[in-house]
């Protein structure tokens, strides 16, 4: 018979006692969820895996500072550590800061894109998998990608993002627009390839 699954609270207790079995259980249970976050911020799989490993090391070493606040609080806490670790990695990798004025962001004016709008949307929704979306996001410039992740997927506001990344609020807005524009272009190419492969 299989052992009954430990609750989140029991796992936290085990991790606080530095039990290797509890730590491994936490890793096995939550690594896929946290890996998805890491890969969104990383430029490639290798960097994503590095962020994941360092995040787990930090999680287990800082577990004493975590206080239980009901179900889901542990996952939320771990997600925050992963996002912070990803931002740290971004700050390390940052070599040149690209500052773009909001006025300089151009609206997409590709006529082909408008023509194939309906099919494009269908492919986006139905054909492209989650992995395809992450891979497309990896191709976006790092400084735009991190803003896109924080705003769209983590739910931060521009003011908070500006504080986290030590940039202007306006820069955060412009980077988000740039990120979306780049992403649109990349996704379009991915859709075209998908459509060609179907035909």
């Amino acid at each position: 018979m299989r052992k009954p699954l430990l609750t989140e609270k029991q796992l936290v207790k085990g991790c606080k006692s530095h039990k290797s079995a509890s730590q491994k259980e936490v890793f096995c249970r939550y690594a896929p969820l946290l890996r998805s976050i890491c890969y969104r911020y990383a430029s490639d799989d290798l960097e994503g895996e590095d962020i994941l490993q360092e995040s787990f090391v930090k999680i287990f070493s800082k577990i004493e500072s975590f206080t239980w606040q009901g179900d889901g609080s542990f996952v939320k806490w771990m997600k925050r550590i992963v996002v912070n670790k990803a931002i740290d990695t971004y700050n390390k990798n940052k070599k040149e800061v690209q500052t773009v004025d909001i006025e300089s962001v151009e609206e997409p004016s590709d006529p082909d894109l408008i023509e194939t709008e309906s099919s494009f949307a269908d492919v986006l929704n139905n054909e492209l998998s989650e992995e395809n979306l992450i891979q497309s996001l990896n191709k976006v410039s790092e400084s735009y990608r991190v803003v896109f992740n924080l705003y769209v997927l983590e739910g931060y506001r521009h003011k908070e993002i500006a504080e986290i990344l030590n940039i202007d609020e306006q820069t955060s807005r412009s980077r988000l627009k740039r990120a979306k524009k780049q992403l649109q272009k990349i996704l379009k190419e991915a859709c075209m390839q998908k459509m060609k492969s179907v035909i």
Binding site: H18, S20, Q23, K24, F27, C28, A31, P32, L33, R35, S36, Y39, R40, E49, L52, Q53, E54, F56, V57, F60, S61, E107, P108, L113, E117, F120, A121, L124, N125, E130, E131, L133, I134, L137, V152, L153, K177, K180, K181, L183, Q184, L187
Partner: protein, 197 residues
């Protein structure tokens, strides 16, 4: 512009709670990364830095108590040894420094630092004129009874100071008045210690 909004919705919808499973040895890598911090964290159930520190302290203490011979081979400078030679005239302190002799200087004699301690000043015996008792004014010329305070513990050189022969019991000396020699100072011969080459 509509597409840009769609992209946001698309990502939110598809990646919310998304899980990415990979078959790799990430757990082993995490374990190895965690091994160092856990080594420095105290845990009664496993060997860590605290246990190793305690063991080393105990072993050093045990070796110091039960095996002092083990540490004779240590070539660190030994502490100064004080040799006190008590001469009859004075006290001489010879401080002997022992060095760690290098290979080339093996023949060299250890340096001797001779420190001569100055003799404590000897106070001349205080001759008190009173009470003077004339024992027999008719027979003898003049004998005076003089009480002298003899500072016995101060004067170490009793052999040289032969002019005053004071019986230790009474402290009263019978001397002729002319023969009282007053000594203010005591000369001390310095003993030279030759340095051997």
């Amino acid at each position: 512009m509509k597409e840009l909004g769609d992209i946001e919705q698309l990502y939110r919808k598809k990646l919310e709670g998304h899980q990415l499973t990979k078959d790799n040895d990430s757990w082993e890598a995490i374990k190895s990364k965690m091994s160092k911090p856990s080594f420095f964290r105290f845990s009664p159930s496993r060997m860590n830095a605290y246990y190793i520190g305690a063991l080393s302290i105990i072993s050093v203490a045990a070796a110091a108590n039960y095996g002092p011979g083990l540490y004779r081979t240590i070539t660190s400078p030994q502490p100064e040894k004080e040799v006190t030679i008590s001469a009859p005239a004075h006290t001489t302190k010879i401080t002997k420094k022992e060095f760690v002799v290098e290979e080339e200087e093996l023949i060299a004699e250890p340096e001797l630092i001779v420190e001569t301690v100055t003799e404590p000043k000897v106070k001349a015996p205080v001759i008190q004129p009173e009470p003077v008792k004339i024992v027999s004014p008719e027979k003898e010329p003049a004998k005076e009874e003089i009480s002298i305070e003899v500072p016995e513990p101060v004067v170490e050189n009793k052999e040289e100071d032969q002019t005053i022969t004071a019986p230790a019991q009474t402290g009263v000396v019978y001397v002729k008045s002319e023969s009282v020699v007053r000594k203010d100072t005591v000369k001390v011969k310095k003993r030279r210690v030759r340095k051997r080459k």
